[in-house]
Each structure stands twice: as C-alpha cells, then as structure tokens.
C-alpha cells in the first residue's frame, strides 16, 4: 500500500521546497556574498576580515569564551550530574526537572536577571560594599566575565542533562569496583568515569560550545559594544555600516562551526545506536 512513489513525493515536497526556498536559498546566497568581488570568486573578503585587529579580537574572544564556558560547564556539570544520579528516584526526577526548567524560559529573561545582580547598584556590589571587601562598586557588567557568567548559566543545564544520561548508562559497579581496587577519587574520575561517559561529555560539550559561539542575547545584554562577540559584531556591522560582506564572512564561520558540531553529534549518535 505504500509503494506509490508519486504519492510519497507529493507529501514530502511542500515541506522540502518550503525549507529550500525560504531558508536554504537565501542563506546560501548570503554566504556566497563573502566569496565575491565584482564578478569573480575570491576569498579576499576573508583575508580582509581577518586582517583587521577588531575582528581578530572578536573572533578569538568568542572562541575563548565558548571554550571557557564549555570547560566550566564540564567541571560543574560532572559534579552536579554525579550528585543527581545518586539521588533516590523521586528526588532525582524533581531536581532534574528544576535543572531543565530554565531552558523553557526566554533567554532574554534569564540574561536580564544578571543586570540586576551584577549592576553597579546590584545585589553583588551591594553585598561586597556592605561586607567591606570593596570601597566602591566594581564594574562587572560589560566585561567578559559577565558574558561568561551569563553564557554559563544559559548552557549549563544542557551539559548536566547530557552527563546525567551518560552516567546512568555507565555500569553501576564500575566505580565501586575501582574503589575496592584502591583507587582514590581523582583516579576513579580519570580512569573510570571519564572514559565511560566521554560520549555524553562530547554531546554536552558540543551543544554548549556551539550555543556559546552563536549566542546573541547574552553578549548583547551583558557585553554590549564593549565586549563584542561574533553575532553582536555581525549585527553591528549590518546596522551601523551596511557591511554585508563582513556579515557573510561571520555567517559562514558560525554556520561551519554549528554544522561541524552537528555532524559530530550525528556520528556519535549512530555509533551509540550500533552498539
């Protein structure tokens, strides 16, 4: 009953054509702008882009922050995931729910809170002055630290969820077995937990890294124009200077990163399912 190819195509084409026309085509054309100068194909735009120190700074900063957020989320994530996995079932469900909860809330709301907390008259500063650790309010906002904190809060749940899944798939007796054989906690972590959960780490890491690389709201609110990241730079170049070529270059960088990450995730997923 499901042999008719014409039927199948008729059903699938509207979605495919829609995606191709509304989405793929414009994006590909945009990307092609980064490779054109007049009528010829060239990578001059890329050379120009990377030879400007501002762009270099922004690019490296985005990479750096993404890497730092990923590393921090991995460390904290393991600790939290390990704690959660060892909870009794009821508690585990509730706490996991609380961890996932923020993901349902708009990034604007989640980032906004940091304005309140890190601002000059904000919570942290008030506390620091009150306790006497500082004579006057420290500027936290519009620094890389602020963006770091904002991104970490945004993406940590993703890492925790990935690691919980990985830890649950680890054989239950692996850790006790290692302890009985004399391993201390550091050795247990590096020799047992890490190897056995490394797929979850990679999955979580990829999600966090790509998310951080391609973030807009958090860098916009917490970094402003003082701490530009790739997407905020893109926005600025277009709105201020009508510079679509730079936009195209940045777009390609972002897409390549996201695409590579997605490919990696897919490879891992199929490798997992084969087992």
């Amino acid at each position: 009953m499901f042999q008719n190819r014409a039927e199948a195509f008729a059903l699938v084409l509207p979605a495919a054509i829609f995606a191709a026309v509304v989405f793929l085509a414009p994006v590909l054309i945009l990307l092609s702008e980064g490779f054109r100068s007049g009528d010829s194909w060239t990578i001059q735009a890329y050379i120009d882009f990377f030879s400007q120190s501002l762009n270099q700074t922004v690019f490296l900063r985005t990479l750096k922050l993404a890497a730092l957020v990923t590393a921090a989320s991995a460390v904290i994530g393991y600790a939290a995931a390990f704690a959660i996995v060892n909870l009794p079932p009821k508690g585990k469900g509730r706490i996991t729910g609380l961890v996932v909860l923020p993901l349902m809330i708009s990034p604007v709301a989640r980032t906004y809170a940091w304005l309140v907390i890190l601002g000059r008259t904000g919570f942290v500063n008030k506390a620091l002055v009150a306790v006497g650790l500082s004579d006057e309010p420290i500027r936290f906002l519009f620094t890389e630290t602020a963006v770091f904190i904002g991104l970490l809060q945004l993406f940590l749940p993703l890492m925790i969820i990935s690691l919980i899944s990985a830890l649950e798939n680890m054989p239950r007796d692996a850790v006790p077995a290692a302890r009985v054989l004399g391993a201390n906690w550091l050795q247990v972590f590096t020799k047992v937990i890490l190897p056995l959960t490394k797929e979850g780490l990679v999955i979580g890491g990829t999600l966090v890294f790509t998310g951080s690389m391609t973030a807009y709201i958090t860098p916009a609110i917490l970094g402003g124009s003082k701490v530009l990241m790739l997407e905020t730079l893109l926005y600025q170049r277009v709105t201020v200077a009508n510079d679509f070529v730079s936009a195209s270059v940045i777009a390609l960088i972002l897409i390549v990163m996201a695409f590579a990450a997605n490919l990696l995730l897919k490879r891992l997923a199929t490798a997992r399912n084969k087992r």
Partner: protein, 259 residues
C-alpha cells in the same frame, strides 16, 4: 565521608546559580521603587500592572502570539505529511530531504533573519510580518517533523491497511486511524514549536520594523531606554506562561515521552 556533604552543597549551589536569577527577577518585579534593583524597595504590583498598560508590549505580544501559533500551525501542515511520507514510504533521497528540512536548527537564527531581509523583504517588497512568519515556520519545521516522525514510527502501518480493507479511503484511513493515535505527538510538537517561537530572538532582530516587533525584541528595545522593573515583570510573566504550558502538557500528556 566527605561525599555526604559534597553532593547536597554542590546541588544547592548549582540550583541557586541556575534558578536564583529567575527568582531575583520575580522579586525585582514586585518592587515598589522606581528602578530595577534587588533586594526590592518595598513590595507592590505596580510594575506588573504597568506591563499591561504599555501599548507597545500589547502590540508585540500579539505579534509574538500570531507568529508562535501561526508558525507552528504552518510547520505542522507542512511537517505532518512530510513525516508521514518519510516514515511510511521508501522515499528516494530520504536522508537528503530530512537534512534539508532539519537544516534550520543548525543555522543561527540571526543569519536567517538577515538573509530573508536582504533577499525577500527588500527586493520583493515582502511585508516584514510575512517574512517573520516564514522565518518562524522554517525554524519550527524541524521540530515538527522530528516529533511527529517519532510518533509515526511507533505506530504500526498495518492498522491503516486494515482500515482500507474495511472500506476506508487512504485519506479517510489517515484521519480515522492514524491521527487519533499520533495526537499526543502532534500536541507535543505544537507546544515545543510554540515555546521555541515565542522565545526566539535572533531571527527577529533584522526582521523588525515600525509596529512590527516580537515581544522579546520589544523588551530589548525598552531596556535601552528605560531602566524600570516593568521588563523584569514582563520577563517573569512570560516565564510563568512558558512554564505553565509545559507543566500542563506534562501533566495531561506526559509531554516528556515525545520529546
């Protein structure tokens, strides 16, 4: 053993870090004072009420709702037949088609918005709202296809054959026998799409114009002008709305099964 203390402390710190800010926003929005601060100076609902009075918030809320509901409906209208075809038939190039349809998830939204502005809105004079609608539909489509496909894959195809042999047409069989059994998946896809669309910012950055703004963009714009707690109040309200929807979905559907 240090382990016993370690766990609860870590969890407390992590949860405080993740959820604390949100609680702070709620508190800040209940402030009686003039500026955004925590702890709040006095308690009052004035800023929460103010949110409903701000004209542009009302307008952009309407736009965000329209995009979320309309975009999700459109994504489902396109996505359900596509999922059906991909899961029931042997479609040549199925993998390629799946990739094309899922691609919006991979590309950062800001690029989509820019590309649509440049190649649809400007040259062809597409309305901004229409372009936004197309963009949101494209963004939700991958989720729709993925979730509905999962439901379809769990449903045997022989009940459709049985329905046909009992006298039903193919389309009749789809509506009488397939739809009722994938209803949960469709609803889950709808909710997922709605929440994703409503909270989406980057796509709408370039596709905003006079009178056409999504709510998050409007909030960002407002924040640049005024520093009062109404944005906090609005954030809190929206968060509760999202959470409420997801909570109800979990309660009545077992939402997490489908996602």
């Amino acid at each position: 053993m240090t382990n016993k203390l370690f766990s609860p402390i870590i969890l407390l710190l992590v949860l405080a870090f993740l959820i604390g800010p949100f609680l702070i926003i709620i508190a800040a929005s209940l402030s009686a004072g003039e500026t955004l601060a925590f702890p709040p100076q006095g308690l009052s609902l004035r800023w929460v009420l103010k949110v409903f009075e701000v004209e542009s918030f009302r307008a952009s809320f309407g736009i965000s709702m329209f995009l979320a509901i309309g975009g999700t409906l459109a994504a489902l209208i396109l996505g359900i037949p596509a999922s059906y075809a991909l899961s029931r038939y042997k479609v040549p190039g199925a993998e390629t088609i799946r990739t094309i349809v899922s691609s919006p998830i991979i590309v950062p939204g800001i690029i989509v918005g820019l590309a649509l502005l440049r190649y649809f809105v400007v040259p062809f004079n597409f309305g901004i709202l229409f372009a936004l609608f197309l963009a949101h539909t494209a963004l939700i489509l991958p989720y729709a296809v993925r979730v509905v496909s999962a439901s379809l894959n769990n449903l045997r195809s022989d009940i459709e054959e049985a329905a046909v042999l009992l006298g039903s047409s193919r389309i009749g069989a789809f509506f009488r026998v397939v739809m009722p059994n994938i209803r949960g998946g469709i609803l889950a896809a709808f909710i997922l799409g709605f929440v994703t669309s409503f909270n989406q910012v980057p796509v709408s950055l370039f596709l905003s114009g006079p009178g056409v703004r999504t709510l998050p963009i409007d909030m960002l714009a407002y924040m640049e002008i005024t520093y009062d707690p109404s944005v906090a109040a609005l954030s809190a309200l929206l968060a509760f709305m999202s959470l409420g929807i997801v909570f109800l979905a979990e309660r009545f559907l077992g939402f997490s099964r489908y996602v």
